[in-house]
């Protein structure tokens, strides 16, 4: 059975949990990282020398980097559905998955960590506000894309929606100012209607 290592309140672990449940695959998960520790100890570092989560073990493959995990699971178990079979359609999905890593996450991290994982006395409100503005600029790009596409990868739900979903949940749940992104909201409502997203991502902010 596929093994997944990582605490379930990590947005990167959520991506893996969500795609596994969308497909209906069996897996065993072990809490690693954050309050559970172990990510900086030898047994885990042997699997993932970065000491970050998640890591999966599937047969002979030990794989880390959450978007690579989403891509691997989708292409192995859902080719033609979550993972488009045509190279151009797949490339457009992967482009937005990369965009989550290169652009979208950078705005989120200072806001989320500042408001949720820091004590009020340690917060830097100016830095949080600046990062929020950067983050909003990224959502504006996606909002425009979603004005022409029902989902991130095109006209149906694909693996491209998965890395961005947990980041969107944080955007809509954090106590911050939010612009009126009509198309983003429409897409987010579609995502929130998916049981696997509700189960693994809509679990509160921690």
């Amino acid at each position: 059975m596929l093994q997944l290592k990582g605490r379930n309140n990590s947005s990167n672990v959520m991506k893996a949990l969500w795609v596994l449940d969308e497909i209906g695959l069996d897996y065993e998960r072990e809490d690693i990282g954050g309050a559970f520790g172990k990510n900086d100890e030898a047994p885990y570092l042997t699997l993932n020398p970065n000491g970050r989560i998640p890591t999966i073990i599937d047969g002979g493959l030990v794989l880390w980097e959450s978007n690579s995990i989403v891509r691997y699971i989708s292409s192995t178990h859902s080719l033609g559905d979550l993972c488009p079979a045509d190279p151009a359609g797949r490339a457009l999905c992967e482009m937005w998955m990369d965009w989550q890593l290169t652009e979208l996450v950078n705005g989120m991290v200072p806001v989320f960590h500042g408001l949720i994982r820091k004590l009020p006395a340690e917060r830097d409100p100016a830095a949080i506000a600046t990062a929020r503005d950067v983050w909003a600029g990224k959502w504006a790009i996606l909002d425009d894309h979603l004005s022409r596409n029902a989902y991130i990868g095109g006209d149906r739900f694909t693996m491209a929606d998965i890395p961005i979903g947990p980041i969107a949940y944080r955007w809509y749940e954090l106590p911050i100012e939010r612009e009126d992104f009509t198309h983003l909201q429409r897409w987010y409502d579609l995502i929130c209607a998916r049981p696997a997203f509700r189960k693994h991502v809509m679990t509160g902010l921690s």
């Binding site: 020398p49 493959l61 794989l63 959450s66 690579s68 190279p87 151009a88 490339a91 992967e94 990369d98």
Partner: protein
Amino acid sequence: MLKILGRATSSNVQKVVWLCDELSVPFERTDIGGPFGGNDQPEYLSLNPNGVVPTIDDDGFVLWESNSIVRYLAEKHGAGTPFWPEDIQARASAGRWMDWALSVLAGRHVPVFQGLIRTPEAERDMAKIGAARDLWAKANLVLEAWLADHEYLSGDAFGFGDIPASPFTYRWFNLAIEREDFPNLKRWHDAICARPAFRKHVIDIGLQ
């Protein structure tokens, strides 16, 4: 013909032109970004709303994000060769190094490269550059450990997974910084430097 938009000095553009030459894919490149500008103009933003380089136009198919471009072109022109393995697990293993280059390596290298190459000497914050260098070295330790057990990042043979980390490693070995002794990283980097297409698109451009 494949069109590549982006200046030759961008490490993200270098990934794409290097790959094209490895696979003998003809292309036309246009200078965009940096001193050439154009990346903040409506014409370019209509192709790539992020205003960063590169973007490709492959007979009307527009794609951005350099790693996605590398994967797309590698599959289109390299399928059936060791460069794009048939085996899905081998492909996933190679591909992780592309995501890792984005999620870890790129961010670790930026303050050092920008600080030493794109910042005037009088404005450099050497303490900050030194601290960033230490974090970059830690990331290179991850490469060193992998390369102790594997010939390439992609596995036994050179492949698409080796592309994104390489321009950063070139910078590591050529910037005026302290360097730990990473023998396996050095062996891999020497193998990459021996490739004519890498020489042409990365080494001959140098650090700018």
